[in-house]
Amino acid sequence: MVEPVTFVVWLIVLPLAWAAAAFVTGERIGAWLGVVGSAIQTFLVVWMVATWHVAVPVIHRVGGWGAPLGIDLTVDGLALAMLLLTQVVSLPLTIYARSYFSEDASKSRHFWPLAGFLITGLNALFVSADLFNIYVTLEIVGLSAVSLVAIGGGKAQISAALRYLFATLIGSGAYLLGVALIYGAFGSVSLATLIPLVGSNPPQAFALAGLLMLFGLMLKTALFPFHYWLPPAHGGAAAPVSALLSALVVKASFYLTLRLWTELFASIADDIAWIPALLGAGAILWGSWRAIQAIRIKMLIAYSTVAQLGYLFLVFPLLPGQDAIRATVMQACAHGAAKAAMFAAAGVLIKATGQDTMAGLAGMTGRLPLTLFAFGLAGMTLMGLPPSSGFLAKWQLIEAGMARDLWIIPVVALAGGLLTAVYIFRILSFAFLLSPSSVKIATVPRVQEWTAFALAAGSVLLGLRGVELMALLPGQVP
């Protein structure tokens, strides 16, 4: 059988290659390179998932040195799930973006290289087993995301990008100091080396490092109340960019939080587990509340991201239980696909109506049924209504909470579902209103409608077949 680990390297090298090539060749060829590259990556990762059978992580020693001298890449079920999500979501988005930017060369010229670097950073981050290397990948993700927001250089984009950049820089600064302290304490930054070294009573610097790194990552994940930078960035960027950012970028820093929390910092995590859960609950309530009040479509979706990220942190008191990890991975994938679909659909609606307001949606169920259907399906996933993947996530979260008699977690999850319904149906009701037939709408290429729909349908179909994804993660329901 082909060793899947070598594919992992390709998942990092390929996007680097097409990013560089796209920079040289320019937008037209660059777009094709991006689409084809993503297609190949998707194929590879699906192959990896299909041939995934080992329970123990597979390690690729870069340079052949091996940790702690060299850098290791580690692929386990969790990383594989995130890799799958990244490729599967970014492929339709590249197709979407190719059409979306087609008439605007000045934007797409820089979109493709930056997108390539972003995907590289994500893939590299998911598999890196070296704290300092993770810092570099974090910077790739952060800086490329900021640059993508700034594309085009409108007023709103630039200010949003600057604010986003400051947030992500504080985050990486804190993380970096944490790495420095850990190196000072143990003399290594390789996770595999560190984890056994962390004894029952690690030095004070270790706890401090843990707090610094986790804070930095939560800031990058825009966990309430550190979410202040997210709505302008995600709500202000071009639709394909917003989709990439909301679906994938925030998940990367969350993935790291989860990984470090359960592996490296397990010894100090239990005492403070209620903090992220509390912030998560706050995120759900505050984000939903702001989404309910929003006037602009994309701002509503952005605040919905703030709220949905809250669910990811609700499980922390249940960690390191495998059922909790399954729940949060399902939520990450559900939200990833659904939110990408929603921003893509919003992009179509905004292009068609020429305005980013809900009032402009009147009558769109008749004019753009496919896009509205996509929006509805994505909304279904976000509300956690069956038979969507969002529902499976909610179901697993509730079960995990009950298994430990932490009733508050199911209660918050259920309440959050209802709040989500309020703002989703608020948009949909606007679309069902009758519009004066005089209103003219611009024609949008069908491919954009269909890619949005494909993502939304995927987020629902995953709900009918969650078994395969969950099979990647170890452990069965107790």
Binding site: T6, V9, V13, L16, A17, A19, A20, F23, V24, H60, R61, V62, G63, G64, W65, P68, L69, G70, I71, S106, H110, F111, P113, L114, F117, T120, G121, A124, F132, N133, V136, T137, E139, I140, L143, S144, V146, S147, L148, A150, I151, G152, G153, I158, A161, L181, Y183, G184, A185, F186, G187, S188, T193, L197, P203, Q204, A205, L208
Partner: protein, 220 residues
Amino acid sequence: MKRAIVIAAALVFGGLLINAIVDLPSSPVNLRIAVADNMAKSGVSHPVTAVLLNFRGYDTLLEIAVLLLALIGLMAAGPMLPPPPNQPADAMLQKLARIATPPVIVVGGYLLWAGAFRPGGAFQAGAVLAAAMVLLHLSGLLSAWNAQLLPLARRVILVGGFVLFLCVSVALLAAGSLLQYPPEQAGLLILLIESGLTLSLAAILAGLFLFLSRDNGGAP
């Protein structure tokens, strides 16, 4: 009020930090030994270069990517305002720049070559060359670059070093894993990579300045 709180918090944090640093035990792992043991196989004689280009070469690969994408991001932020009328540069300054440039290039070359056995290497070399370009620009001898219409050659130079590095790392995948140098060719390959990087880094670092310059280099 806010000020007071922040300062107080900072003091507390600093105190904790220093306290944590002071009572650090000696670290259980000591990579110094590991590095020393593998220097022979690394292909260079300077430990830092060995770590940068060989043991942790993967970091360096990604780091160039960061530099490159920062440059692209800078270009993506859109065209700057039309330039103010070029004021003629001081003739004295121009003469000085003309004289200074050749030796600076030599220094760059030396730094690149020295990297193998003492502090130095592609970054230092690239930085020096970039400095020379900035100097030429400031003295009006080198016009600024326009992010919107960038000639193919310049684009190739910007990414060339990185692409070369990437190709070498991938080619070495045949040996089993990414960037796995065969010890005998290691020195040669590293020199190759560093030479490529020197040019690209010089271009990128200079670009970070030249793209932002108000003098738009004769663009329409």
